[in-house]
């Protein structure tokens, strides 16, 4: 989920090589238990999935608290869990900056998006964007943007899953890694096709609980070790890191030069504005009965996610304090295994039973996290494919509900297949660019269109198309010509250099481009027939909940 989530080739295994086989069987057992339980729930949910509302929106019967848990489970990816802990463990304070962007972002969703979206939409983000516009072009754009954002995010998770699981299980061969990617992909397809939104929601709720409990255990153990004195923990981290006081100050990761500082600003803005434009988050608001329940879900999510990110401070600085920087980077160059290593250390070390149990627990939590997030992404993209593109664009609204849900299931299998294939072929891709790109596209293409549609009377079809496509093209285009893709050692193609855009994160440019294009497109339009009338309907419905689905 964050740009820190870089997975280098996991050539080096966990420090505790000798106890590896015991860990492995324990990890596999815990993980299998999770998969079996969630699949049973999925089948149970699938039997209760009768119509399109059940499949897309879980019957809209979840409570605000349940959905708040599921939203948290959908949002807290392995990247925020492992990536942020690792970034803090290696770069100290700069790693902590991510958590703040990811949390503050929820205020945009709370204040501006969740409730009006719940009131005026039905199944997808496209429902709200196309409400007052010409359906086919806007739904096409919304569908394309949804699928692109979700696929980038999904690909990052799949690549991450392969490398991470391989690392934690000590698998070094490509065959083993590919097997894991296929396994994750198949389980995720089963969740979505059988359980639909109901099954996926339950998986995400369970995962959120596991993640919170797992993180809480490690946090308490770390704090206990330092007498619940945060200052002491920070001091120990600064000392062990070998970087002294500067470890606790901003700048270790992003303070190198003027470009990296602007890059950080660009990332920060994309994080804050991207969340409320992520389709897999937005569709979660349709699973509750009312806008007030949607508000309650966001409030719960802010509480849960906020507490979780506060605990990542203890995890990250705990790892920095208790493990040498070499131990962390030897296991994974980007620090992604710092949290599991810390669990092992705090449980009593590599050869202890306590260490083995905690390591297995945290690793299983990490797998559960990956599964829940990829299921949410697959559901979001297949929903948009079936509801926006198939039912409303291809079949022009004439598809029956049964046909639409069937299309959603088939597209979930196809998208899952694509994700598996990409995950295998993308092998050692730097996932950082992909995730930052997903946030930047969401902030540049989706958020302007959502806000203009809901709040600006003069917005038009042309404005919607311009903001989606301009945001999409500028963010993807700038990344294509950035050091993420070529020209640097960490690039996807380090051998060639066609980069001219210096920033890894395009948001600073592409977000204003998306907003400006939507504004100009709307001004450029001739008055659309019934424009005012449709906006009146959207505004009244979105603000009051009249006639909400």
């Amino acid at each position: 989920m964050s740009a820190t989530y870089q997975l280098a080739t996991p050539a080096v295994q966990l420090a505790a090589a000798e106890g590896a086989s015991e860990h492995r069987s324990l990890i596999i057992t815990l993980f299998s238990v999770f998969v079996v339980i969630t699949l049973v729930i999925t089948v149970w949910a699938g039997r209760r999935t009768k119509d399109a509302t059940d499949f897309y929106a879980g019957g809209r019967q979840f409570s605000g608290f349940q959905n708040g848990l599921a939203v948290s489970g959908d949002y807290m990816s392995a990247a925020s869990f492992l990536g942020i802990a690792g970034a803090i463990a290696l770069y100290g304070y700069d790693g902590f900056l991510y958590s703040i962007g990811f949390l503050v972002a929820w205020l945009v969703a709370l204040l501006l998006v969740a409730e009006p979206l719940r009131n005026s939409g039905r199944y997808t983000m496209g429902d709200v964007l196309a409400y007052r516009m010409r359906q086919r072009p806007v739904r096409t754009a919304a569908g394309i943007s949804t699928i692109i954002v979700s696929i980038f995010y999904l690909l990052a998770q799949m690549v991450g899953a392969g490398a991470l699981v391989a690392l934690l299980l000590g698998i070094t061969g490509d065959a083993g890694k590919n097997l894991i990617v296929v396994l994750v992909g198949v389980v995720m397809i089963l969740y979505v096709t059988i359980g639909g939104m109901k099954g996926t929601t339950w998986v995400q709720m369970i995962k959120a609980c596991l993640l919170i409990v797992g993180t809480l255990i490690i946090t308490v153990l770390v704090l206990h070790k330092y007498g619940y004195n945060v200052s002491e923990l920070l001091g120990a981290a600064a000392e062990t890191s070998g970087k002294g006081a500067s470890f606790l100050e901003p700048g270790l990761q992003y303070g190198a030069d003027a470009t990296s500082k602007i890059n950080f600003l660009s990332l920060g803005i994309a994080l804050v504005l991207g969340t409320a434009g992520l389709p897999h988050i937005l569709i979660r608001f349709y699973t509750v009965p009312t806008a007030m329940a949607a508000r309650k879900s966001v409030l719960w999510a802010i509480g849960i996610i906020g507490v979780f990110y506060l605990m990542t401070i203890a995890l990250g600085f705990g790892a920095a304090a208790l493990l040498s920087p070499k131990t962390i980077t030897d296991s994974n160059a980007a620090g992604n295994t710092a949290a599991p290593l810390l669990a092992q250390e705090i449980g009593g070390g590599a050869d202890s039973t306590g260490g083995a149990i905690l390591l297995a627990m945290i690793s299983a939590v990490a797998f559960a996290t990956i599964l829940a997030v990829v299921a949410g992404l697959t559901l979001a993209s297949s929903s948009s494919f079936a509801h926006d593109l198939y039912a409303n664009v291809i079949r022009k609204g004439k598809a029956s509900e049964k046909e639409e849900v069937k299309a959603a299931r088939i597209s979930a299998v196809l998208i899952g297949g694509v994700a598996i294939a990409l995950g295998i072929f993308a092998g050692n891709l730097n996932v950082a660019g992909l995730v930052a790109l997903a946030f930047a596209v969401a902030a540049s293409a989706n958020l302007p269109t959502i806000l203009y549609s809901l709040f600006w009377k003069r917005f038009t079809t042309r404005g919607a198309l311009w903001s989606i496509y301009a945001g999409l093209i500028s963010s993807v285009g700038l990344v294509l010509f950035s050091p993420v893709v070529s020209g640097a050692e960490s690039s996807m193609f380090p051998g060639v250099d066609f980069s001219w855009f210096p920033l890894e994160n395009p948001g600073l440019i592409s977000i204003p481009v998306g907003f400006l294009a939507g504004f100009l497109g709307a001004l450029w339009s001739k008055d659309e027939a019934a424009q005012g009338e449709k906006y009146a309907e959207l505004e009244v419905r979105s603000m009051t909940g009249t006639g909400a689905h």
Binding site: Q66, I100, G306, T546
Partner: protein, 123 residues
């Protein structure tokens, strides 16, 4: 959670609907919109500015951010934690405000429209 079936979730949207333009231009709705917008728009600008300020300080005011306040806890940490605190407070404040000032106005309009036009769960 899956016992109560959703009411009227299928069927065409054809119905003698309310005149939304009239509702939108009514004083009652204007009041609702004004209450909502004058609360959330300035607040959104405020927290985005506060967050960007924090990012800029981290970027360009390293010396100030590194000043130790209590033990090893420096200004940067206090500011970071303050972002958490303000996020929680804004969320709490909005939910209280919405429940007290926005929800009753919206509900009143919704109930009136739905009793007059029977638009409950259309489409």
């Amino acid at each position: 959670m899956d016992t109560a079936p959703e009411q009227g979730s299928s069927g065409p949207p054809e119905r003698p609907g309310p005149d939304y333009t009239e509702v939108q231009q009514s004083q009652e709705f204007g009041e609702l919109r004004r209450t909502y917008r004058t609360f959330v728009f300035p607040l959104t600008i405020a927290f985005v500015v506060w967050y960007v300020l924090y990012v800029l300080l981290s970027n360009y005011a390293g010396g100030f951010m590194g000043v130790k306040v209590v033990g090893n806890v420096n200004v940067a940490f206090i500011f970071g934690l303050a972002q958490f605190v303000t996020t929680f407070l804004i969320a709490w404040w909005y939910s209280r405000f919405a429940a007290a000032k926005i929800d009753p106005k919206g509900e009143a309009i919704k109930n009136r429209l739905e009793s007059e036009h029977g638009t409950r769960g259309d489409a």
